[in-house]
């Protein structure tokens, strides 16, 4: 039997979407051999969370009422104790920033293999077949693992579980060793504020690594000005300090849904796409016809941005 223990994710009083997605992923794995799906809800308002998470397909929810916010030591200790108690075949965790802050520690502590950032999972009860990307999404790979494992799942790859379940909700009596807690969260800060809110823009002219140099940024700004649009960017441009943080579109930046999103020299890494796939019309200008951005583009120009962008600017001047 393939029992699955899936760990949910919340932050500042809210469950994150991946918590509902992990129910779907966990249910699919458990179904393949008729196992049970257990959820772990750790810290925060656990009873309220448990009630929300009681969706179709969940067999049991284990709550651990300890602290308000995520702490990786609390998570690691709790999950290893739950593992000892439940003996699941697979421990599923979100491939979120917090998931990656405890899942590898859990795997190492339990002496289990780990496979991260999976986008597809299958099992026959013995062998796990995990699909994941390599080389920034240029290829997909399948990977096989025998026996028990810790697995993290990419967000937005599985649909959110729906319906109302009939799960047994139980408080799990975890023994937290406070001496082993070596880190303390002291606060949170929203970043990327300032004068411009790219999530309010109707038209975004968005620039990526293809721009090559800081000195080339003005051709993007000139186009935005000619179109009366707003400049945004992918992560590397902000990392390089070429544009401020409030211009960054993506998982760690802003989620935008403009009428028109013009992606210029942006390959379309999954973290970027997560922030702009809801745009009405997406235009991609990129020399690489195989760039992942093409998968979600409505219109594409496979050409050099240094030729196309000035020509477009000229049209509107």
């Amino acid at each position: 039997m393939t029992d699955v223990l899936a760990v949910t994710d919340h932050r500042r009083g809210e469950l994150r979407d991946v918590s509902y997605e992990i129910i779907t992923a966990g249910r699919e794995l458990a179904d393949e051999t008729g196992g049970d799906l257990h959820l772990a809800v750790i810290s925060g308002t656990v009873d309220e969370f448990a009630e929300k998470l009681d969706r179709e397909g969940v067999d049991a929810i284990h709550t651990v009422d300890y602290g308000e916010e995520f702490n990786h030591d609390v998570y690691t200790q709790t999950i290893t104790q739950l593992y000892d108690e439940l003996a699941p075949q697979y421990v599923l965790a979100p491939n979120s920033v917090n998931g990656l802050d405890y899942a590898p520690a859990v795997a190492n502590e339990l002496d289990l293999p780990i496979v991260t950032d999976t986008i597809g999972l299958e099992t026959d009860g013995e062998t796990l077949i995990a699909t994941r990307e390599m080389y920034g999404g240029k290829v997909e790979t399948t990977n096989e693992l025998e026996g028990e494992a810790v697995v993290t799942i990419r967000s937005a790859e599985w649909p959110q579980a729906e319906g109302t379940g009939d799960a047994a909700i139980e408080a799990f009596d975890a023994e937290i060793d406070e001496d082993a807690i070596g880190s303390t969260v002291t606060g949170f800060e929203e970043v990327g504020g300032g004068d411009v809110d790219i999530s309010e823009a109707d038209v975004l002219v968005s620039v990526g690594r293809g721009i090559e140099e800081e000195d080339n940024i003005p051709i993007i700004e000139e186009l935005a000005e000619a179109l009366d649009a707003t400049v945004s960017s992918s992560r590397p441009i902000v990392d390089n300090g070429w544009l401020p943080k409030n211009r960054q579109v993506g998982q760690s930046g802003k989620v935008v849904t403009p009428d028109v999103y013009i992606a210029i020299g942006i390959s379309g890494a999954v973290q970027h796409v997560a922030g702009m796939k809801g745009s009405d019309t997406i235009v991609a200008i990129n020399t690489d016809p195989n760039a992942p951005i093409m998968d979600i583009a409505d219109y594409a120009i496979h050409d050099d941005l240094f030729d196309v962008v000035p020509a477009l600017t000229e049209e509107f001047q």
Partner: protein, 263 residues
């Protein structure tokens, strides 16, 4: 204080490539210092320049061919390097997290650093798990996806920011010794100076086999087996505009006018 930085040479892939078996054909592959590790090296060197670290040591798992990449890290200011390689690692197509943890923890034990910096992930296999796994193995504290580190490290505590999703940062205090996984953007990695490049040639680069660091071959046996590699099916149904830049720009201009973008 001593800082150990994990440095990986990653494979880079050209836009057009072919797959042979479970690998990308070698003629389409390049090699580079892992982008995240570049930031980790810079952070360590800045701590040294601030007078906090006495020594910055890099550790790499990789064959002789990656020494050029290691020299890059040395040219940017790391003091010396350790490279671990072994015939037993030669035929492994995917070194999994457990194997990397085994090897790196043995080096950490020998070096006994106060702080270990790793990149958040490697640009090629992108597991994003080795740093935290390593911390657990060596009994150190840790923090994943760190995009700011206060350079005073007061009272043996690192004050960091962890970059969460959605433009939120978590402020966290972490006891040392610790392993921090470093996110891009935490600093501005320097280009190596000519002097740095010259000096790097003379810096110590110590090569260790598995037996030298007390690891049995069986400990690095991969539990994760890569069984297939393929190009994801393109889901693109984009309308592709072709022609000269003027022509394609004009098509796009028409679309924008149609969408009422501009006058």
């Amino acid at each position: 204080m001593k800082i150990l930085v994990t440095v990986k040479e990653v494979a880079t892939v050209e836009d057009e490539f072919e797959i042979e078996g479970t690998e990308i054909a070698s003629q389409y592959l390049g090699a580079d210092l892992n982008e995240w590790d570049d930031y980790a090296v810079e952070e360590a060197v800045q701590l040294q320049e601030a007078g906090l670290a006495d020594e910055v040591v890099t550790v790499t798992i990789g064959p002789e061919e990656c020494e050029q990449t290691i020299r890059q890290a040395l040219a940017k200011g790391a003091d010396r390097a350790v490279r671990v390689w072994d015939d037993a690692l030669e035929g492994v197509d995917l070194l999994d997290v457990n194997a990397k943890t085994e090897i790196l923890s043995a080096v950490v034990e020998a070096e006994d650093p106060d702080l270990v910096l790793t990149g958040v992930q490697a640009g090629d296999d992108s597991f994003g798990a080795t740093g935290v796994s390593l911390a657990e193995e060596i009994g150190a504290q840790w923090g994943a996806v760190v995009n700011s580190l206060e350079h005073d490290l007061e009272d043996g505590v690192a004050s960091v920011r962890r970059e969460l999703e959605g433009g939120v940062e978590e402020l966290t205090e972490i006891d040392l010794p610790a392993v921090l996984t470093i996110q891009t953007g935490i600093n501005e990695p320097r280009y190596a100076s000519l002097r740095g490049i010259r000096q790097a040639q003379r810096k110590e680069l110590d090569v260790q086999a598995l037996a030298d660091i007390g690891i049995d071959e069986s400990a690095i046996e991969a539990q994760l087996e890569l069984t297939e590699m393929y190009e994801p099916e393109s889901e693109s149904d984009a309308t592709i505009w072709e022609g000269s830049a003027d022509e394609t720009a004009s098509e796009l201009g028409d679309l924008l006018r149609e969408k009422g973008v501009t006058q």
